[in-house]
Symmetry: C2
């Protein structure tokens, strides 16, 4: 047993002989950046040994850190074994503001709140009225309220009236349920707030809403603390399969991230978190399972069955959320294991289903979901695209945080790039990678199969270099920023997954790519993407209208705080959408292989021709 | 602080200076017979001081116990103050079997069980089916089941399937709700039992039912341990008003009585209490409030409003019942504060509402409830009749336990009486008192106003004696059993209450006493009553048909275990019945005063005439 002290944070714990340092740091939520799950691949579980003995550096560490850093005591937590008690530092990225795209602030309409709060004076009825207190209270809540079954606890609260003539209660209620009743003193009144969450695999976004006016009070985003268990949903599932306790650890990681956001939101808005009475949460199906504490393992293995897809509600106190203990927590319905509540939320919020145009809705997050809407019918699928666009598995990839190269173009003979926040470049994020690929394609420096070509006549070709036996494209010389041939392959796989997905959906609908009239890009990534570049590399089809709706999921989550009807529409849409499980298709491999090519026009012609055979 | 040791029971406790011995014994459920609430009136909180000093006897004790008993250390717990630590004995009545009337045993029909139990194998669906596990499980429960909202905990249980192909679960469910899900091992199967309760103010009756066959397995009854807080509902309410903690003490007293009955029932039937998954409870409104832990104080003070009247459900484990922790506990709906679930249960069980005859339903328990059914309409009221018929407030009154004089008649010049169980007489119970009164009336020994008359010519007149300045009728000389003039007044008040109640209901319905074609007597008391005597003293009206249905409440409570439709009918009946609050009527005092007279025929003529004026 060795002692571990985390300097600067005042944390201290003891390591059992069976535990690895990485595991414990992970479970304590101290490694928010690491995403490969402790395999030495991502290099993001960086720590600095200040005192104590550990095992010698591994080849993973040499590659990621270099000799200089190792000499300064920097190590990867997943690679070391302790040989004595240690004191360590965990370097953090500078406080960063996530580059997130919110839809415009707007005032919601308070029409049919799913949950209402009211102070009610229960006054004993006249002898002749023959009413119980239960009925007297319900009458005060309005005609639309009819509660078939009362919780005993609330009858007990109501009974506290005893021999008094009248008593004041604070009631939280829906159309068919009393959600909470408390005796209310004259003084206290408090607010009535809701908080909506987009529970992403990588990023959590939240919006604090005043439910009395429908006004948004604050929006914020943070990295999901689950990230240290793996970047994508499959690695999170693996973590749970490896050790069932990880389910609770992952659930807590998400909830602590949510609580951090709630704290931030209420502080900035000058409100009290105890006034939050409604919480809505939309995420992909795996995230929703974990948030509810339900094992998502069955989604990870064939036949990829989710435990639940319908919406459900829970209690704030049971989940440990920093809200009123009796707050209602609403979890969105999903379509299937790989098309979740986040998609349902976004589709419903932007009324995609009602679109008269044949519409392709694409949400590229850590996973890539695609939805095709045609003539009131809905087809959807999930693809394994994603992490590459978030900078994962890309040598100098990073998220869209300050210093990330986010756009690249070649104009007037110059290579021009911009970074998030205009800061000195530190890496490249997804939108920058797509721009760079499109630029390379347009200038003939990339083959249809994705090989970097040294076309001597082009000024950009001098930037194609050899590095460690691999071709790289040099985006910047000082500091040196490169896109490697392997990076390009990763992006190619990701775009092929998305492209193949939409091809299959079109096949199911009996439509062709040209039939798509409108493309709707959801998610932050979709907002910052250069649609010209995205079309060029085949990530999205060329359509007359291409729009970005920003964080559509959060927009829907907010609606779910405000409208009972909206929740109903979500449930209906989720049941109506036809889910296509790609792995179950015999034609998928073929379609995918073709989608790997960059010259999509030629490929389209090819499929059209072969379809005519 | 004095120590108190209860001999023979191995109990031991310390008395705080602020506590009285009576209070503590009461709260510990050790004084099940006492019913006056510690006022020295009932004489039933008898204890024997074996060691230690207490305050000198009060006049109440002298009257109840006599010098001999006091010399032996017998005292009334409510009258003494400790002057040292003591050792006491609490004499108990011999184990007694309550004289209760059950309806005939019959096999219930299993048609629409409100709650079902099923072992379900959840097998993962084919890839193409696109079902969640939630849906796979529901399909197995049958077409009639549709669950709008799942409890998160049960989703968690279902998620335990993980990467397995199939898993077996034990599911407890209703048409719209999953009540419980547990992983089931192949071995265990267990039974599926229900227990029905008639939660009376004085007596608790229970029936254990096999829900797989509908068969009754056992029936039993016990005295409600709440009795030491007072004999009637008003004194229980007063106890709670005096000290709010008494609400929980009373609730626990009822539940411990129920648990005693469950233990007895399961032992005798050779079953396991953990196999009880459904519990139904019907009682008067105050009893039901207390059972739920809801303060009944608002029922005790004008305008006599109950907190709730609708049915509701709770969990076995939350109430501390000796059943499966997740058992569903169903509590009957009531009509109003003084017409409770016991009446709703009985009326529904015997389909009184559908009667084509004008019917008067009378339940004489600790309270007396009267229901008038005419042409599909229902009127009901509650009266303060009752305890006198259970032997309370009657000098030598007792419950219908062995040794109680239960019938009295004068035949062939002889006074003939019988006791319960044929045992030597120890007192007189309600049916015996009614018989005696009827006999006295018939033989001209009682005036219309209820005075004992010494009619010299009648052989019974020699039994009218003077005792302590009061006239008494001597029922037996050895042992001496008397009915005092004061006892007669008590019975007169009780019958007047019942008679006035029905007069008011008839007035409401626009009917006359002669219009009543059928009288249904519910409750044990109604079963043993001599209907001729009851008509003679005016307790019930003379009708063509007079039937006893026994414990109708328990019959209905059993139905509620077996039928969803039955529960619905109860709810409808409870809402439909028109409750008449007697205390709110300006004409009540007048009607009541007239009802005090015994010559009901004359009184009827009087009212009919006055109605014609």
């Amino acid at each position: 047993m060795f002692k571990v002290e985390i300097l600067d944070q005042g944390k201290f714990f003891v390591l059992e002989p069976t535990q690895s340092l990485f595991e414990v740091l992970q479970q304590k939520g101290l490694l928010t950046e690491a995403y490969c799950g402790g395999k030495g691949l991502c290099g993001k579980c960086l720590i600095q040994i200040i005192e104590g003995e550990v095992s010698p550096p591994t080849s993973f560490e040499s590659r990621h850190l270099g000799e200089d850093k190792i000499r300064q005591g920097f190590r990867l937590a997943c690679q070391i074994q302790l040989q004595s008690s240690v004191k360590v530092r965990i370097p953090h990225e500078d406080t960063f503001s996530l580059q997130t795209a919110f839809y415009g602030y707007h005032q919601g309409l308070i029409r049919d709140l799913p949950l209402r709060k009211k102070r009610v004076v229960v006054r004993k009825p006249e002898l002749a009225e023959g009413l119980s207190l239960q009925e007297v209270l319900e009458k005060q809540l309005g005609d639309s309220v009819s509660v078939p079954e009362w919780d005993i606890n609330y009858l007990r609260v109501l009974g506290s009236i005893g021999s008094e003539e009248a008593k004041s209660f604070e009631v939280l209620y829906g159309r068919e349920k009393i959600w909470h009743i408390a005796e209310s003193s004259q003084g206290e009144s408090g607010g009535f707030l809701g908080v909506a969450f987009d529970l992403g695999t990588t990023t959590l976004a939240c919006e604090l809403v005043d439910l009395e006016s429908g006004t948004s009070l604050y929006r914020g985003a943070a990295l999901n603390r689950q990230a240290s268990f793996g970047a994508d949903v499959l690695s999170r599932i693996e973590a749970i399969q490896r050790h069932p306790d990880n389910l609770v650890a992952l659930q807590k990681a998400a909830i602590s991230t949510m609580n951090q956001l709630i704290q931030e939101a209420t502080e900035k808005a000058g409100r009290n978190f105890r006034d939050i009475f409604v919480v809505s949460v939309a995420g992909n199906t795996v995230m929703e399972h974990i948030f509810w504490g339900v094992s998502p393992v069955s989604i990870g293995v064939a036949p990829y069955v989710p435990v639940f897809v319908r919406s459900s509600v829970g209690l704030g106190e049971e989940l440990g959320l920093l809200v009123h203990p009796k707050a209602q927590v609403y979890l969105f319905p999903s379509c299937a294991g790989y098309v979740g509540g986040d998609i349902v939320s976004g589709l419903t919020a932007f009324e995609i289903e009602e679109s008269e145009e044949t519409t392709l809705y694409v949400d590229i997050g850590t996973n890539g979901e695609i939805v095709l809407v045609h003539d009131g019918k809905i087809w959807c699928c999930g693809t394994a695209a994603g992490p590459a666009f978030e900078g994962a598995q890309i040598r100098q990839g990073m998220r869209a945080t300050p210093g990330a190269v986010s756009s690249v173009s070649f104009r007037g003979g110059d290579l021009i790039w911009q970074t998030v926040g205009g800061e000195p470049p530190r890496g490249i994020c997804g939108t920058g990678l797509i721009d760079a690929l499109a630029m390379l394609l347009e200038n003939g420096l990339l083959s249809p199969t994705g090989r970097l070509l040294e076309a001597a006549s082009h000024p950009l070709s001098e930037r194609i270099e050899e590095e460690g036996g691999e071709k790289v494209f040099v985006l910047s010389r000082e500091p040196r920023l490169v896109i490697t041939q392997k990076d390009i392959s990763q992006l190619q796989l990701a775009k092929a997954a998305l492209q193949a997905g939409r091809t299959i959906l079109l096949k199911e609908a009996g439509l062709r790519e040209e039939d798509i009239q409108r493309v709707v890009l959801a998610g932050s990534f979709g907002s910052f993407i250069n649609s010209h570049s995205a079309v060029k590399i085949g990530l999205i089809p060329p359509a007359k209208r291409i729009e970005s709706v920003g964080n559509a999921c959060l927009a829907g989550a907010k609606e779910a705080l405000l409208s009972e009807r909206f929740r109903k529409r979500c449930e209906e849409l989720a049941r109506k959408a036809q889910y296509i499980e790609l792995s179950g298709r015999s034609d998928f491999q073929d379609v995918f292989t073709h989608a790997l090519f960059f010259e999509n026009r030629e490929y389209e012609q090819f499929t059209r021709l072969s379809g005519n055979l």
